[in-house]
Each structure stands twice: as C-alpha cells, then as structure tokens.
Symmetry: C2
Subunit: 322 residues, 2 copies
Amino acid sequence: MAVYTQVNADQVKAFIANYDIGPLETYVGIADGVENTNYLLFTGSGRYILTLYEKRVEESDLPFFLDLMDHLSDRGIPCPVPVHDRAGNTLGRLAGRPAALVTFLEGVARSRIEPVHCRSVGRALARLHSASSDFGESRPNGLSLGAWKQTLMQSEVRLEKYDSGLYQEVRDDFLHIAEAWPKSLPEGVIHADLFPDNVFFKDGEVSGLIDFYFACNDLFAYDLAICINAWCFERDADFNITKAGALLKGYEENRKLSAGEIAALPVLCAGSAMRFLFTRLVDWETTPSSAMVRPKDPAEYLGRLRFHRAARGPDSYGLGTS
Amino acid sequence: MAVYTQVNADQVKAFIANYDIGPLETYVGIADGVENTNYLLFTGSGRYILTLYEKRVEESDLPFFLDLMDHLSDRGIPCPVPVHDRAGNTLGRLAGRPAALVTFLEGVARSRIEPVHCRSVGRALARLHSASSDFGESRPNGLSLGAWKQTLMQSEVRLEKYDSGLYQEVRDDFLHIAEAWPKSLPEGVIHADLFPDNVFFKDGEVSGLIDFYFACNDLFAYDLAICINAWCFERDADFNITKAGALLKGYEENRKLSAGEIAALPVLCAGSAMRFLFTRLVDWETTPSSAMVRPKDPAEYLGRLRFHRAARGPDSYGLGTS
C-alpha cells in the first residue's frame, strides 16, 4: 500500500536507459501493491509500471512470473507485458532491488460484481489455463495443503484468540480437506489470486488480468475454487449461486470440466477458503491497530469455509443453472 | 505517503460525471502527498489528479488554494489547473471528504540540483509573486512567528531529548529572530513550500510548480528565504553560495529586491530554518520507528539555523556573485 523504496529521477532515467522505451517524461509512485514498490512511468513511447521487488518476494521466483506474463501475453491473454532490455533481459536491478518494467494495463476493476462479470471471469480463467499449458517453467504452490498444516499447527493461540473453539473447528476442517483432497485432476499454471481487484473490465467483459505474483502450478479446478470464493459471495458472506453458476458456465465455454473436477469442487472451495482465512488471520493479528489501512476481516473467510463444509455437493455451486 | 481513503470505480465515475472530462478509463492511487489522498485519473480527455482532502487540511482553506491555482494558471504560471464542474465549482465531495480535480502536470523533479536550476527556480518564484499580486483572496500564514513561539514553548522536552542544551540555543535564536523580524517589506501570496520535490524541470528550466497547500500571505522575501534553505545547501548541510547567488540572481531577473529585503535575508533565512526544524522535530518524534518511511532528520535544519545565525550579513548569500 505504499512506496517502500524511493527512487529519484536520475535513478529511473539510468534504469530505463537500458530499454528502448524513449526518454522519461514523468513518473509517480503508486499506492497499489501490498508486497512491492510500483511506479507508473510515462516515457516517449507510452506508459509502464516499474516494479521494485521487496523482501516478501523470493528473487528466485521472479523469472517464473515475468516469463509467464511474457508467455501469456504472446498467446493473447490481456496481461502486463514485461519489457525486455537491449540485452534481452526482463529482470534488472534498481536501488539494490530486483526490478522490472511491464506495460501499463489500462482498465478499471469493478466494485459491483454482477453474474455477467462472473461469466466473463470464468471464460478468462479457462483461457488462461489453456494458454499456460505449453509454458515450460513451473513453480510449486507454497500456499497449499502442506503449508496449511504448518500454519494450523502454529495457529492454535491465534484462532482461539479470534474466537473460542475455532481451533478445533478449523482443525477438523483441515483433516477432512486433507483426506478428501483430489490426487489426480488436470493441473498446470494457475493465477491463484484472481480477486476482483486483479481483473479489469470494459463494457462488461474482462479486459485485463494483473498481479501474477502468486501464480504457481496446481489444480486448474483449485484456481476456479479460489474464484468462487473471491467472486460469488455477497458482502455478508452469503453465497450467490447465480454468480457461481455464471462463473462455471463461462469457464466451461472455454474449457470443459471433468467429472472429477466437478465432484471435487466443495473440497477445493473449502481448501481455498482455509488458505485465505489463514493469511487474513495473520494480517489481522500482525497489523498494528494504528495502521492507516485495516486488514480485511478474516470472518468473511470463516463464513465461506463454513458454507463449503455444509455444501451438499457440487450441485450447490449452481452448475448448469444459468 | 499513502492512499488514506479508498474510493472504488463507481465512486470515481459518479464524481467525474459532474465534469466535462469524458469517461473514466483508468485510475490509480498515487503515493505522493503526505497530507491528502491522491488518485491519478485517465479519462477520455486526458489525465487528472483527484485529491481527497484529509483531516490535516482545513476545509475552509480549500477555496483559497483552488482559486489561487486557477488565478496563477490564468496568468501563465505552470501549475495544476483546477477543473470546474458543470455548475462552475472546483470543490466537490467524495467519500465524505472535500475533493477536487486538477490537471495532471507532467514533469520530473530533480534529484541533483545545480546552480542553473536554482536560477530558474528564482525566476519562477518571482513570476509567481508577481502573478499573485492581483489575487483577491488571502490566508494568514499559520506557521509564522506566533506559531513558532507557541511551538518553542511546547518543545523544551523534545529539544532537550534531541540534543542536550538545544532548547536554550533555539530559544536564544527565537528571541533574536522575533526582535529582528522585518515589519514592512513587500508582501503578498507566497508558495511557502517550494522544495525541490515541488518543482518540475524540463531541459534545465522550471516547467511546473505543484503543491500549493501551504500557500499563504507573507513577505515575498520570506518565500525566497525558504527557497535558499531548500535549494542551496548540500546534503551535509554545507551552504553553497554559488547556488544561492544563482537563485537570487534569477529572482531579480523578474522582480527586483528592495534594500530592506536584502538586509533582512539572514533573519528571514534563520526564521525559515526554525520553521522547518520545528515541524521536522515533531514528525521525528511522533513517527513510530516501525513506520515504513523514516521522517527527515531535523539535524539538517539545525545546521542551517546555525549557519544563518553566524552569517555576517546579506553578502553571505552570494548576491551579485553569479
């Protein structure tokens, strides 16, 4: 939510001198991005985002993220395109940090989500999964079952502090999820964080996807489960089956789900809810109350976890309803 | 340094619907601005800054600031131009806060200041003083002698904590400054915060002035003294007389200084150094050490105050040397 690393005009000019993007006209630090420092640059040839990667990002993961955006944009996915310097590199260094330039993606995220947007997101997600199928690199998902187990073991105090009895409840969920987790579903590179903040729309259709810094290899249907949690609940954690039906329908317009994927939806959704419940609980506890921006309330994801636990089966997700 | 108030696309669209600036294409929260929330907007007709005024700004002062920018831009000063809505207003409300749209000023601030830039700043400052001479509104300087006295009285502990013996030293300075403060020099609207951050250059010449939110009525030569402190010291608080000479020479190219103004330079510079010493001391003490951005060290301004105290007279400032 801030510019962690200040760079002055001379530093920016020296950095972009390695790229064929024309002279610097203006730059502003932008407030988006929880993990990294981002500047919006205006140069003789257009608008770019200059990202300085801060400590929370593993430097060794950066080539994967940049190569992935390169690969996806080559295949027509509307995502930021890494700019290559004259030596062909997309990753450079600035102010002691790894840094990269990507094209600035125009567009606005939606604050009010309607089923038509969910359908478009579904289509875009399936396109992304198809487009990544011939991407030659991989990155394990660091926020999957194994990590949840570890987080759970460290979270007894945190969970009990948030709500008495919660540790037992979530531990039972974890045991169920771990047991029911599907072993052999179609997998590949997933976005893993396709929240409404990360999707731009134009005239009701997805026009841009951003923030690939959680992308990793995992089950395609798990990415869909993340989207169900991110797009198909109302403010008060009520599930909107019409939106979920539209999301799944949109997805299946571009990639058919297998019977196994459909059957696994409840457990994948529960797992995804647990993953965000854990990270939000940590943010909730570690953000000082004096901070300018309050972290999101973990209660939202607790509500979603409980919904998925109680789901009768895949038909609870509106498949074939819209 | 942050977006204090989050506004979503629907809110921005509803706000700009009152203005003839075309439809919203994109917007990003920007990290500039310590006091207010700023968004950079791209619309069908160009780029704009949308500012939401936060608590530290007096709402009753806003018409003065906006009218001043309107007035100055009318007279050819390169500053942000407030956009009028269809009813003719420049001040609106958004997310419960006063809000305004101004044009986005392209340009980059300089990180390395050379005498040629000081000369250009001097010229721009004098032009600003002339252009504001027929501005019909006024706003008292809330950070002048009276305020310093009050701050001094509240700062004994703070000053002693920063450096033992400092309270006595600064109190003596204050008494001298208050006694020697000029009573009848040319005055009018001054920028009062024309630091290098707030000045854009193109090809070595000033191309833009921003951040008029400290503008007020005071002595023109005091504005010049603020610039001497802001532009003519090196990183280690060494005074650079060549830069000061260039700044004064540039100023006099557009507005001749009176003998009284020249004679008062040392005390005006000392007063200006005290003003920034006080605000930095407060920021230094009140910013938690966990904050992402450390406030600027007050020591810089203590060094400047000491320099001006020891100045032999106005000739210490390089008048007529370049």
